[in-house]
């Protein structure tokens, strides 16, 4: 027999019996960050590819949402801070070792850039819109000339943002379930996949839809591969990691994860899109919505499961 008890102390609120430092805010923030990264990436990429006339949704319309999405994401992050009045401390230093820090700085750069970027398409999206302030008008005109540079910047920053949403978690060795290098690519791909789904949902253009349907399928396939890889990696690792994997393989997260995330969020949309390609008609909105929802739930589950996996003293079960 091996008995471990904490006989006194250590029932700190938010720490025990199960770590609950992060609630809904962080997953929402990670989801929106990933989504925004995907949207910006596709917009910039296809802009550079000269598709701004054909892939109107991807290049021009979708980025209009990004500032809003980022604002909501940042709002969620802000809500999560427990010492809010000091949030400005984030921007008094750059700490490269802290993903939280460079994430904050990336956001500080990408947020205005996304505004500028979408501003250059305002007239295309809302042809009747008139800029009432001459200065601003001139500024937008100037911005339009910088689109190529901005696009390159966006590609880099959106990749960073997308990776960051995963690396933020995987940097925490203390949480066995997060402690895997696969989380970064997984969240990056998942973010881009939700971005593709978002575009798919809005696009009215058949060619654009076909394109993003394909992109989405490839991304989903990679995601599935990464997920399998993730668990194989855990199972081949130390005891605590095996235990972490078991949270999903028979443990409390098994049902939600495999049905909602893997099933409804990945496999079903993949099949639906496959069928669509084969000419069977499935309303494209359904797989797209499922992907978005799956992406959101994935982040909720990963944030939650990471916090219930620890090295010492498990109070659960």
């Amino acid at each position: 027999m091996h008995e471990i008890t904490i006989t006194s102390g250590r029932m700190n609120h938010g720490i025990d019996p199960v770590l609950h430092a992060w609630g809904w805010e962080i997953p929402v923030y990670l989801f929106l960050g990933g989504l925004a990264a995907g949207l910006l990436f596709f917009s910039a990429y296809f802009y550079l590819k000269g598709k701004d006339k054909t892939f109107i949704t991807a290049v021009k319309t979708a980025p209009m949402f990004v500032p809003l999405l980022l604002a909501i994401g940042l709002g969620a992050l802000f809500l999560d801070l427990s010492h809010k009045l000091y949030f400005w401390r984030l921007y008094t230093t750059i700490r490269l070792e802290s993903p939280m820090s460079w994430g904050a700085w990336t956001l500080l750069l990408i947020f205005p850039l996304s505004i500028f970027w979408s501003a250059t398409f305002l007239k295309d999206v809302f042809p009747r819109w008139e800029c009432k302030i001459p200065m601003l008008g001139r500024f937008i005109e100037w911005l339009k000339e910088q689109r190529t540079w901005m696009a390159y910047g966006l590609i880099i920053l959106s990749a960073v943002l997308g990776m960051y949403t995963g690396i933020l978690l995987s940097a925490f060795n203390a949480r066995p379930f997060w402690n895997t290098s696969i989380l970064g690519p997984l969240f990056l791909i998942s973010g881009f996949s939700t971005g593709a789904a978002f575009i798919l949902l809005m696009s009215k253009d058949a060619e654009e839809r076909r394109m993003f349907s394909r992109i989405d399928m490839v991304l989903i396939a990679i995601e599935l591969f990464l997920i399998v890889h993730l668990f194989m990696g855990f199972l081949a690792s130390t005891e605590v990691h095996i235990e972490a994997a078991h949270l999903f393989l028979g443990g409390p997260y098994t049902a939600v994860f495999w049905t909602l995330v893997a099933g409804l969020g990945l496999i079903v949309p993949l099949l639906a899109e496959l069928m669509e390609l084969r000419g069977l008609h499935v309303p494209v909105q359904i797989p797209a919505l499922l992907v978005l929802l799956g992406g959101l739930i994935l982040r909720f589950i990963v944030v939650d499961a990471g916090q219930s996996s620890r090295w010492l003293y498990k109070f659960m079960q």
């Binding site: 006194s8 010492h83 000091y86 940097a171 130390t238 620890r310």
Partner: protein
């Protein structure tokens, strides 16, 4: 330069929790929270049993993930190896909380993140930390590892000891004499 550390004799400790109570009062730790805690770990089967009692707290790791993950520098190393949080720099993002393999930190009701300070305010004045000075069984030895003649350096040389989850790679500075 000093490198403070703590050695805790599991053979002496009776798990009375005085160290926890002393920390509460000394440091005004709010009700419902604690900076240190007691763990009893038992192996064996009746009637051949082996019990280890440990008083645990932040390990003031030399390579501490909490400091690395802090976006503002609020979590930092202090001269002497103390790992501290400057309340006025902490935004309460809790990255340090999830990064600590020992779960040694918590959010203070006032919003900032709090944990054991090794009672730096006392150490600066030449006193032992509160938990150390109160322990009725004299289970603690607190001191400077850099000084090879210090009591702690000597005891770590002469007695078998261990740290908790060394595999987490944090280089903890609380040693358990076993």
């Amino acid at each position: 330069m000093a490198r403070y550390a703590m050695a805790i004799d599991t053979k002496r400790c009776v798990g009375c929790s005085d160290c926890v109570a002393a920390c509460q009062t000394e440091n005004n730790v709010p009700v419902g929270f604690c900076r240190d805690w007691i763990v009893e770990e038992m192996h064996g089967q009746y009637p051949t049993l082996d019990l280890e009692i440990r008083s645990e707290r932040c390990n003031h790791c030399a390579d501490s993930p909490c400091v690395r993950s802090c976006p503002t520098g609020a979590s930092h190393y202090e001269e002497g190896g103390f790992v501290l949080v400057t309340a006025e720099e902490c935004i309460g993002c809790k990255a340090c909380i999830v990064s600590c393999p020992y779960d040694a930190r918590y959010v203070h009701p006032e919003g900032y993140v709090d944990k054991c300070t090794f009672c730096i305010h006392r150490v600066k004045e030449g006193q032992d930390p509160a938990c150390v000075s109160v322990c009725p069984t004299h289970a603690f030895i607190f001191g400077d590892l850099e000084d090879t003649n210090s009591e702690i350096s000597k005891v770590l040389r002469s007695r078998k000891n261990k740290t908790l989850i060394p595999e987490a790679g944090t280089k903890p500075h609380i040693f358990y004499l076993i």
